[in-house]
């Protein structure tokens, strides 16, 4: 039997070192881009590296990050969810309506909002599995329907003024400088990462995205997995909707328009492939941070508004390119 290079024994430490980039996987390039970005901004802006600003960045990305966790799972199975922005707004409106207009206790309103999001996600899943719709079509339909419903809840009006404790979810520091929303983001990321790594259901998602037929032939219940993932994506959009309501102290039916592209961008920048089978939550988190840090930095640096859009586009392209080109060379 021919000896293959990988079987050649190597020194343990060296081996571990050589594996390091592999561990970060496809997120290696974006990680470097993120670090470059952070270092550059620390030099360019005196306030960038302050605790206050960094927690502000966390504030700004918590919704994006939470929704991106769901989107990562969706993308790992080779799907896509365009409806997250609309579902977020719908959940926010349900929460606001039930509290402010129907007088339900805030806690119940939150539960109902989360239920609404999960339900919307489940419907996406059903359209895709039983209805055999392409995910793009199913979630595009939901994008339209959920937005319409969000507007219908109050006939387009915004709802303002929520209880103090509720707003405290995003403002009050719970542990160190971290608010409940920060912890929620962290918790979601960790739980998602653990699921993808350690649970059979999570591992199976890669198989489904990598080759659905193989997964099916290997006895994986694809329908159940799909339903689970889309429901979760809807639920997490609702979580972000509730947090946004707390953050803005108001529920708006036109919140988060175009949000789906931000979310998918974060996931793809983090190394996931839209054709499925590849993606990690570490990568997604890096993608989320790149977007957050970039926007924050451009504001701090006084880059003019129109130029910001140009710069954001260029940085995204360069960040991902450094990764893909690097990988080819290797």
């Amino acid at each position: 039997m021919a000896a293959h290079p990988t079987t050649t024994p190597r020194s343990g430490a060296l081996d571990a070192l050589r594996r390091l980039p592999l561990r970060v996987g496809a997120a290696g390039g974006p990680l470097i881009a993120l670090i470059v970005l952070i270092v550059a901004l620390s030099f360019l802006s005196p306030v960038f590296m302050t605790e206050r600003n960094l927690t502000a960045v966390l504030d700004q990305v918590s919704g994006l990050g939470i929704v991106a966790v769901g989107a990562t799972l969706v993308i790992v199975i080779g799907g896509i969810d365009l409806s997250v922005g609309s579902v977020l707004a719908l959940a926010s409106m349900v929460c606001g309506y039930l509290f402010a207009r129907s007088g339900l206790p805030m806690e119940l309103a939150i539960v109902a909002a989360l239920g609404t999001g999960a339900l919307a996600g489940l419907v996406n899943g059903l359209l895709i599995t039983l209805g055999r719709l392409p995910a793009f079509v199913a979630t595009l339909a939901m994008l339209s329907v959920a937005r319409g419903l969000a507007l219908l809840v109050t006939n387009g009006e915004t709802i303002a003024d929520f209880p103090d404790w509720f707003r405290g979810l995003v403002t009050d520091e719970l542990i160190g400088p971290f608010s409940a929303s920060h912890l929620l983001l962290l918790g979601t990321l960790l739980a998602g990462a653990a699921y993808l790594r350690f649970r059979p259901g999570g591992r199976a998602l890669y198989a489904i995205g990598g080759n659905e037929e193989v997964a099916r032939l290997s006895g994986v219940n694809i329908t159940a997995a799909r339903l689970r993932v889309y429901t979760l994506a809807g639920l997490l959009a609702a979580v972000a909707g509730v947090l946004l309501t707390a953050r803005l102290n108001s529920a708006s039916p036109i919140a988060a328009q175009g949000f789906e592209l931000d979310v998918i961008a974060a996931v793809v920048i983090g190394g996931a492939s839209l054709s499925g089978g590849r993606g990690s939550l570490l990568g997604t988190f890096i993608g989320v941070l790149i977007i957050g840090v970039l926007r924050n930095g451009l504001t701090l640096l006084d880059v003019t508004a129109f130029l910001q859009q140009v710069v954001i586009g260029v940085v995204i392209a360069v960040a991902v390119m450094s990764d893909t080109l690097g990988r080819r060379r290797a």
Binding site: A56, G156, E157, T158, L248, A256, R295, N296, T299, L300
Partner: protein, 304 residues
């Protein structure tokens, strides 16, 4: 103090800077506010940094947070989203940074002053003019801006009051989100459904211009009375050409200038005399007086 005066803000390097957070710079109205603020900044040697929320309230909160981090001397806040979020104002209050709100009034926190057109009164004037121009009769179609926003609500209220008691019937209402293309598309279809239509009220000039274009393309422009709102350069030109019959001229550029001047006054500790609300008059422009408004350039100096 809750940041409504600038006396303790005179120290610190960031103090010769103003942050201008605008709802959506692609909309000419908002862009004119920015141009006004920037002009004042240049004249007075202040840094004016502008952020564009592209209509997203959440992003705007992030941007105001950035201003606070940078410790700008004052913030000019033109709110995005359906309703003006109070959160950025409260955050600025906490940081003792004075806030000048423009166009849409935050429902919480303390602002130094609120600058806007008196939309209800202006829309009422417009409604009354429309009623006269149509002899108080006929079918009217309305092109709505982004539903739920203050200007949309106020313009509806004012205009409805203006045509109250007449025989004008609103036969179609379609949302066109302040957008010219959507206004064009909706008007084109409405014209099919209502061949006897007498007029359009576009709740912004962009939408009204879209309707006018659709009407002239359908060859029915002459039969219609089309009114807009804003007094954009294109809108005024439209009135002059006969594309529009009337519009309400908002003093967008002036509002931007005023906001920046107030901001500077606050930074320099001279905020005391500034009233809490500064409603700007909006003027009715028709073919008779439009040249005057074109000359006045309410949206700032126009390029040739």
């Amino acid at each position: 103090g809750c940041g409504s005066s600038g006396d303790d803000g005179a120290s610190g390097g960031g103090d010769r800077s103003i942050g201008v957070a605008v709802a959506d710079l692609g909309a000419p109205f908002f862009n004119a506010i920015r141009l006004g603020a920037e002009a004042v900044g240049r004249e007075r040697g202040y840094d004016v940094s502008v952020e564009d929320a592209q209509g997203d309230a959440q992003r705007q909160v992030d941007q105001v947070q950035g201003f606070i981090t940078k410790q700008v001397g004052a913030i000019v806040y033109v709110p995005a989203g359906a309703a003006a979020a109070s959160v950025p104002v409260e955050a600025a209050n906490d940081a003792d940074i004075p806030v000048i709100a423009v166009d849409r009034k935050p429902d919480g926190g303390e602002v130094l002053t609120f600058i806007a057109s008196d939309s209800v009164a202006a829309a009422r004037t417009l409604g009354e003019w429309y009623a006269r121009a149509t002899d108080g009769r006929g079918d009217l179609a309305v092109l709505q801006g982004q539903v739920g926003t203050t200007p949309e609500i106020d313009r509806k209220r004012g205009f409805d009051a203006g045509i109250a008691g007449t025989d004008i019937r609103v036969v179609a209402q379609q949302a066109a989100n302040w957008n010219q293309e959507q206004g064009h598309r909706a008007a084109q279809t409405i014209l099919q459904a209502h061949p006897n239509l007498r007029g359009f009220f576009g709740r912004s000039d962009a939408m009204a211009l879209g309707a006018a274009e659709a009407a002239s393309q359908a060859g029915v422009r002459d039969r219609l009375v089309i009114v807009g709102f804003d007094g954009l350069p294109a809108g005024l030109q439209g009135v002059k050409n006969g594309d529009l019959d009337a519009t309400m001229v908002q003093q967008a550029y002036r509002m931007g200038r005023l906001a920046a001047e107030n901001a500077i006054a606050a930074i320099e500790g001279r905020a005391d005399g500034i009233p809490a609300e500064q409603l700007q008059e909006a003027f009715l422009a028709t073919s008779e007086n439009v040249d005057r408004y074109i000359a006045e350039q309410p949206y700032g100096p126009q390029k040739p």
